[in-house]
Symmetry: C2
Subunit: 709 residues, 2 copies
């Protein structure tokens, strides 16, 4: 009857196992690996043979997966899943797909960057800035201490910022938006395929089901289920110790939960505001240090003020981010336990959600500030905006904040990855391990000889516990954010991500194989909430990039100038067009430079980068018509960009089927099989019934009639 079918489906997973281990290969590995430990293994008996598979798998993983020498190879996902369970398998599969997809992105990114390098000498604006002939006197960058300066001195920055602020970046950010969609689709398909291969297509909320009905017939020899059940309960106790007792109670009412939720909301807001405060602190640091350096009389210090300040500030940011990350993680966990979620699934989801928000805000606040607020709140000469006393808000380098943004992103990405990888993912576990060994009071000699006698799982006790995949995922998601959100300002981000991930995969592999105890195999059909987070990020990325291009970069002003104001359709005169005039006599008392003759001649008009009316107009220093026109153009660009990209993404999404053709065909075939089986049996049943009792017979007709009359 149905047995054939069920058997087929049941054996699917075993089948895969057999793919990896023909008896021969197992025997081979036993001789190679475990023979030394247990010399007289009777490999002839299949039962004993199979009992060694785990060791063999581990060995295989160690050689074929957890070493840098094979970084160019695909991961043995099947084996990973076999040994660590579906959840871990899916993580590494996802990481693999992500890394793979990063390759094209990185290549295009590098090309874009190279294009920037190639065209830096044809770039008219920077040429104009660097041309000493048109000597433009700029207004001082700080009160009193600083004096007027020549625009030529900003030549370096101007040239550098062209590398990241050129038309190619527009194309690149569109490309990356589509890339993100393609990545999603690609992963969906891969997941579907894995689900099919791993025989999870039927597996939904049945985790609980299989558990429950095993509870009933524990006697059944279906080990896999019981095993799953034990794992499940154990994991549950493990993660949810505080809430365990509550599970027997009646469902909690809203009023019970209210205080917890209140605490959560309040704490979250508090944490976020703390982040903002920190960022603001860094800004203050930057302002004050800059002022101080300006006052210092060493020309050496003055010369590379900007660079120094930027770099130090970025590093400080980085350190703070890394420290706060750990703190926030702890807080999120604490808050979630307060909420007492019912199942561990919801626990995990809530935890992830909180952690994500906190870490995301923590990682991106400084970047967002740099991208969108820095230099916008400056005010104008003679009427600057002052914060906490007499600190003037910092303004950007002459050619936009893009350069700063780049440095920030670069340092954050590289630093975060390097430090977190090396320090937290290699260092800490090693130290922990050492401590653990120290605890078990025995000198190395004894230990060694014990090692010989110890069984594998006994040795494993010395390894660190498995603390779940969420940190790994979180790290990757934040990285994905870096890659997609501000890619318009930093086309090399994908490259960095790629390099990091190539290491990351093997690093995690090593950790899983050698550093940590074997995790309890957990079944999972997909990567759960992480997928939604990715999707959300890739949606936000579109609008963020639109704003970066139109507001942070000078792309739009250049276009507008070239096609409306320029006398000869080129960018000649653009620099002059972007500079407003300021009459030095309009300085507020006490803010004018102490040494006005610094440049060697009397200055009565200085320039500053803004679109404002000149002093001699009827409304001096008001925003000029150009300002509003360009603002309109910028906003228009955002609208067009966002909608075009969204349309394209939707189109791509619609174009690619979620289920690979071959898989869907396979499933279809199986369904046919199922239906046929059912029908055959039905038929058989009918016949037997008819023989037994005739009155039953007409019962089969009516529905046929109602359909066919």
């Amino acid at each position: 009857s149905c047995r054939k079918l069920k058997k087929k489906r049941h054996n699917l997973s075993q089948l895969e196992l057999h793919l990896f281990f023909t008896k021969a290969s197992v025997r081979l590995f036993i001789h190679k690996v475990t023979a030394p430990l247990h010399p007289k293994v009777d490999v002839s008996h299949p039962h004993i043979l199979y009992s060694y598979i785990p060791f063999v798998v581990l060995q295989l993983l160690y050689e074929e997966w957890a070493s840098y020498s094979v970084f160019y190879k695909y991961q043995p996902i099947g084996l990973i899943r076999k040994y660590f369970g579906e959840k871990v398998g899916l993580y590494f599969a996802w990481l693999g797909v992500y890394t793979q997809m990063l390759i094209p992105a990185a290549i295009v990114g590098v090309i874009v960057f190279l294009y920037g390098c190639a065209t830096v000498d044809e770039n008219i604006p920077s040429m104009e800035i660097c041309d000493p002939r048109n000597n433009v006197t700029m207004c001082p960058l700080c009160d009193q201490a600083c004096s007027y300066w020549k625009l030529v001195t900003a030549c370096g920055t101007a040239r550098a910022s062209h590398l990241f602020d050129n038309p190619a970046t527009v194309f690149f950010s569109i490309f990356m938006a589509l890339w993100a969609v393609l990545f999603m689709e690609h992963w969906k398909r891969r997941q579907m395929r894995l689900n099919y291969i791993w025989d999870l297509t039927g597996f939904g909320e049945e985790e609980e089901v299989s558990v429950r009905n095993v509870k009933k017939n524990k006697a059944s020899p279906d080990h896999s289920h019981i095993c799953l059940f034990y794992l499940y309960v154990f994991k549950y106790n493990h993660v949810l110790a505080p809430t365990q007792s509550l599970d027997e109670k009646v469902k909690l009412t809203c009023s019970d939960r209210l205080p917890a939720y209140m605490t959560t909301v309040v704490m979250m807001c508090l944490m976020i505001s703390v982040t903002f405060a920190i960022v603001f602190g860094v800004i203050l640091y930057r302002i004050s240090i800059k002022a101080a350096l300006h006052m210092s009389s060493y020309p050496a210090a003055r010369s590379n003020i900007r660079a120094t300040v930027k770099t130090t500030a970025a590093i400080i940011n980085l350190i703070i981010i890394i420290i706060m990350d750990e703190i926030y993680a702890a807080i999120a966990r604490w808050l979630t336990t307060l909420e007492v979620p019912k199942t561990d699934k919801s626990f995990e989801q809530r935890l992830i959600f909180k952690t994500f928000i906190l870490k995301f805000v923590n990682a991106f606040t400084p970047i967002v500030y740099l991208a969108f607020f820095r230099g916008r709140l400056v005010g104008r000469p003679g009427k600057y905006l002052y914060v906490v006393g007499s600190y003037r808000m910092e303004e950007c380098a002459h050619s936009g904040c893009l350069m700063e943004l780049c440095i920030q992103l670069c340092i954050t990405m590289l630093g975060k990855q390097l430090i977190q990888n090396n320090l937290f993912e290699i260092g800490i576990p090693k130290i922990k391990k050492l401590l653990r060994q120290r605890k078990s009071e025995m000198d190395t000699k004894q230990e060694e000889e014990l090692n010989k006698t110890l069984r594998r799982h006994e040795k494993d006790h010395f390894l660190g516990p498995f603390i779940g995949l969420n940190p790994e995922y979180m790290e990757m998601i934040i990285q994905f954010g870096m890659v997609t959100l501000f890619v318009a300002s930093f086309p090399l981000a994908p490259l960095f991500a790629l390099l990091n991930n190539i290491i990351e995969i093997r690093l995690d592999a090593k950790k899983f194989v050698t550093e940590l105890r074997r995790p309890i195999a957990a079944k999972a059909k997909d990567i759960g909430i992480w997928y939604n987070l990715l999707r959300g990020l890739s949606k936000v990325a579109v609008i963020v990039n639109a704003f970066v291009i139109s507001f942070t970069s000078d792309f739009i002003p250049r276009l507008v100038y070239q096609y409306t104001y320029s006398p000869d359709g080129t960018l000649h005169g653009f620099t002059n067009h972007t500079l407003a005039f300021f009459n030095v006599s309009d300085f507020q008392p006490g803010t004018d430079p102490l040494e006005p003759m610094h440049l060697g001649y009397k200055v009565d008009m200085c320039r500053y980068k803004d679109y404002r009316e000149p002093p001699w107009s009827t409304t001096p220093y008001d925003f000029s018509k150009e300002f509003w026109a360009i603002l309109a153009a910028r906003l228009a660009f955002v609208i067009v960009f966002q909608n075009v990209v969204m349309l394209m993404s939707d189109f791509v999404d619609w174009l690619i089927p979620d289920i690979p053709k071959d898989i869907s065909l396979q499933m279809h075939k199986e369904k046919i099989l199922m239906v046929e089986l059912f029908m055959k049996e039905e038929q058989g049943k009918r016949l037997t019934m008819r023989e037994r009792n005739t009155p039953q017979q007409p019962r089969s007709r009516p529905n046929s009639h109602t359909n066919c009359v």
Copy 2:
């Protein structure tokens, strides 16, 4: 073994049948309905009893569904599905949900409209316009024929346009955007429920499956399947006559299809351009007729020029739309047959897609023109934009084009619905029926007495054939577009739609029950491509409404004026602020009015609605700073509106689960049952196996080991 389970699932559909017809009720109806025809029915025998169910169902439908008297009742979807099949059932279910969801929308819309009516007297701009004290001399509306006019004369329009151009409409369009999402979600859930009740949850591409495996064992007494199979094939022949032969051939190559696709693309473009041409023609009509009327010396004609022109133009548009609709439908069908799709599914999809594009463009081009282009391309006094010779592009009434847009929408919706419903859906079928009867040469008397003797299905031959649901769906989708796309400009749209649909449901019901032959029952799991079209429309609606509010209405200019330019934070002086000055001496020769003294005094400065520099500025008649500032504000509003609404929609979408709680629970339970059954049998099998052959035994362990070690 699995039988119990399968039986349960099989009987589900029969179960529902029994819900409707206990033997008693059937007997009752037989006596009431069919007894007269066949007096001596042996109702005791269940077989004969059931053979009457179709008639009973039809009778039930006729009384409980296809009459206006029950318009307030829910439709008997179960019965409909029973008699007409799932596809028709789903259509009416969808129509029901849509109509139901329209009720709140209509209510809110009416409230918004009433708010407009209530606040029309507090509306400062219209008060200023209507105030005769500030007598503003406006520039002539056409060359020569027209003369200067007083702004006061535009009082009526100003007051009227406030009804549709007030802050409430902003709220309403946000509301409608969310409404659309809610509607989608609600329908998804309803569909899920129906799928479960109708036992379609397993039904995917298996339509072919069930067919195929019935082919093999035709002998099987499972009538329902065979029946489905016949229906299927018949329908296939019916719809796909031209392509039928090709199905046996090998798959067509790209090169074979290329010409067809080329033709399609070309024709589509052609058709669309034809639509544009027609709209442009109507515009020309409007311009010329206006000029002509202006020249006419009858004061009566002059007085209500605008109204006349608007209305006639709208009606012409309407008629053209309705005629073109029919033509386009034919063309789309022809093009699709050219493409020779493989299955009838793809045929239908392609047809729908083409028809949708053509009809959509046809229906919305005039509206889009009115909303976004009318009055934008006018030019300015002294430098007007002229089309085809000396026709000046038409400009809007003083207070925006919103009023015209409203009238257009109103007439289109009402007219389209009334005409299409009454003429095409009632008239045509009746006429067809008459003709068909005429064809069968027999005078009425003979026919009547034949009627007595004729069996039901014989009589049905005189009814019209069933031509599919696509026209019905299409009509509804276009209506949905009207309701969502331009709701910002016409809050009464949902009300009209609601009223129309209440009639529509019963109209279609009547048609299906009395006018048409019983359609061949077709299985369907969802409403297919229509859902995607709806989704697409509701996405487009957000951006369209954003543009309507910010560009077509005066909402943004009012805000900007109130919070930036206004001396006293109110709207006083807004009207004056929106009017630019024009020096009559700057008229192009031959365009100045023939009778300049029309108003009784010499005019040297006239006003026109635009943000331009006054004649005495350094750059006369250029766009002023206000223009750019307001443009920026408008664009900013679009960005904010779009993203906020999209965010809210996504949130709502995420908030509401696609599968109703109870249904998912039910399915879960069934899965448990399934798993338990499988396990029991497995267990039994294992035991028997163990008894038979012991070497087999260990085969069951390994996968347990690999999971549990």
